[in-house]
């Protein structure tokens, strides 16, 4: 099976999935979502793969959803000016809710190896893995609120707690790998030149597995862990988060947030291009929430 937007490899008992749209900073579009699912499926079919590492080609892990508006009808909600029916929006949202849960449910160890930008859906992907290893200068955040959207990802409070969740999602601010480790978003922040080596070590360690039941026991443990997440409310939380994300995306012409004078990302994008739109989205906030420098900017 050939996949366009991800590269699939296997090294001993470790499967590697590399998001591969480096020219777009691995922005996630419909094709990449499908390829990612196919890759995970493929790895699950191979009983020799005990750990899967997900990482990004090029300069970033992933900047999140592809905001170009092209080939993104599954991963992005329709823009406010589209006359979308509720039915279509909720059906897509419910499907996405299950798709993301399936990634979270993947029954082997998953490790996100993060360098560069890890934003929005990219950050969601990292959180859906069981462990996140990040470069110290990786950049994490979810700027959805700056476009008026609520995040469909309920995992924030499980990873970083209620206070930090609200701080991150109300401001849409970006933090570096070290801060991410401090607040619990990331398991370990590593010097960038050691990231690959340490992730490989962690993957090997998982493959050898620290608990007494061996690899067999590991699958059983995950089944019970998954139940425990649900017992603490994750399933309901996922559906609620997905529904409220959809509500935030529903806008009716004439009474939308744009009509109320809020920032219109799509108009700026259509007039001046995607890059300008992203800059217009983020620039007003830099004086309030200073952005950590990206590795590229640091050089």
């Amino acid at each position: 099976m050939s996949l366009e937007t991800v590269i699939v490899e296997k090294v001993d008992q470790v499967g590697k999935i590399t998001l591969n749209r480096p020219e777009k900073l691995n922005a996630i579009n419909d094709a990449m979502m499908r390829d990612l699912e196919a890759a995970l499926d493929q790895m699950q079919q191979d009983p020799d793969i005990w750990v899967v590492v997900i990482k990004g080609a090029g300069e970033a892990f992933s900047v999140g959803q592809d905001l170009s508006g092209v080939g993104t009808s599954e991963v992005m909600p329709p823009q406010p000016r589209a006359k979308a029916y509720l039915g279509d929006m909720f059906e897509t949202a419910m499907r996405n809710c299950l798709r993301w849960q399936a990634i979270f449910d993947f029954p082997r160890w998953t490790i996100a190896e993060v360098h560069g930008y890890c934003l929005g859906a990219g950050c969601d992907l990292a959180m859906a893995c069981r462990m996140v290893m990040a470069a110290e200068d990786a950049v994490f955040g979810d700027p959805s609120i700056r476009m008026g959207l609520a995040s469909p990802n309920p995992l924030w409070t499980w990873r970083v707690g209620l206070k930090k969740t609200k701080e991150m999602l109300f401001t849409g601010k970006y933090i570096d790998g070290r801060e991410a480790e401090r607040i619990g978003l990331v398991m370990k922040a590593i010097p960038p030149d050691k990231l690959e080596e340490e992730t490989n070590l962690a993957a090997e360690s998982c493959a050898k597995f620290g608990t007494i039941g061996g690899f067999d026991g590991q699958a059983g443990f995950w089944a019970f862990d998954r139940a425990t997440y649900d017992l603490s409310g994750l399933s309901a939380a996922w559906r609620l988060a997905s529904n409220l994300h959809t509500l935030s995306a529903i806008q009716r012409p004439g009474r939308s947030i744009i009509d109320r004078g809020e920032f219109d990302f799509y108009e700026v994008r259509d007039k001046r291009g995607l890059k300008a739109a992203i800059e217009a989205r983020d620039a007003p906030f830099r004086k309030y929430f200073p952005q950590p420098k990206t590795p590229k900017e640091n050089k």
Partner: protein, 308 residues
């Protein structure tokens, strides 16, 4: 048709286990009970076995809890370990009739046997969690497996900075986020506890998994300070507050999550080891239990291979 165990084996778990444990005229041996004014101390007392839990040690500990609860003067209970550590976990080489070792497959247990057996094992910790008086775990040295579960089920856990929770090759039986020791600290840390299970007392305090870590020579003093402070509070007010907090923990799902705990225990009885792995059954047969642990720890360390 009875199996190697049959129903007369100690499967009944309907009673609160410390409440059902007799203490009158008891000769405390594997765990000791001392009363010091308003503070009772239960000392796990098999230092030559690193305080591994035999049935007798569990029973002595439970009896001590019962005695402390019945004594209206006692306001706080401290659980600690004699000798080099708090506890290394279940005694795995106890006679097969005991509850501490895993059920030996030779005796042909059925799933029904496992249910009774594992629920009883796991209920001990739940019963300790719901104990009506405040409890403090005083931890030094190793705190592994059942020892960790006991420490987690106490209200406060105060440890020496260089104590060690968990051990390489063993991990944690309670799962990622139901693990009381790590609840509800961020789940990244909880999974760290699966992969690299050794966590020092100092790290555990930083994670919020335990209350405090102090230099080992200050441990007793620190625990006594807390016990004295708690003993000044109105006992019923404290019981009600504890009931409230534990109740909320149940509401967050931890109550039902105990099913994940004993479910995972039962699941573990059926694991099959892959040819590339160190097998509990084969290695125990060839090298003994100690040999199994050595090989297991080595195999869980990247870049190493156990001796043939």
């Amino acid at each position: 048709m009875p199996t190697g165990f049959g129903w007369e084996f100690k499967t009944q778990y309907q009673r609160c286990q410390w409440e059902a444990m007799e203490y009158k005229d008891r000769e405390y041996a594997h765990a000791l009970y001392e009363k010091d004014g308003e503070i009772a101390r239960i000392t796990l007392n098999r230092p030559e076995k690193r305080n591994a839990f035999s049935d007798r040690m569990f029973n002595d500990m439970l009896a001590g809890l019962h005695q402390a609860n019945d004594d209206p003067e006692v306001r706080v209970v401290i659980i600690r370990g004699a000798g080099p550590c708090f506890s290394a976990g279940h005694e795995l080489s106890s006679p097969y009739q005991e509850e501490s070792p895993p059920v030996d497959p030779r005796y042909n247990p059925t799933l029904v046997d496992y249910y009774g057996f594992e629920r009883r094992r796991c209920n001990k910790h739940e019963d300790l969690l719901h104990y009506p008086k405040p409890t403090i775990a005083q931890v030094h040295g190793y705190c592994i497996g059942a020892g960790e579960a006991v420490a987690a089920s106490c209200d406060l856990t105060i440890a020496a900075e260089d104590s060690q929770f968990g051990i390489r090759g063993f991990g944690r039986f309670t799962n990622g986020i139901a693990n009381l020791l790590l609840w509800p600290a961020g789940s990244n840390k909880a999974y760290a506890g699966r992969v690299l299970p050794e966590v020092s007392g100092k790290e555990a305090a930083q994670m919020g998994a335990i209350n405090k870590a102090v230099p080992q020579d200050k441990l007793e003093e620190e625990v006594n300070k807390w016990a004295e402070a708690l003993s000044r509070l109105a006992p019923e007010a404290l019981t009600i507050t504890k009931e409230w907090i534990n109740g909320m923990l149940d509401i967050t799902g931890a109550g039902a999550a105990w099913r994940s705990h004993y479910g995972a225990h039962i699941m573990l009885q059926y694991v099959r080891f892959h040819p590339s792995e160190v097998s509990l059954y084969k290695t125990r047969r060839d090298k003994g239990l100690k040999g199994f642990f050595v090989d297991r720890a080595i195999s869980a360390t990247p870049g190493e291979k156990p001796a043939a």
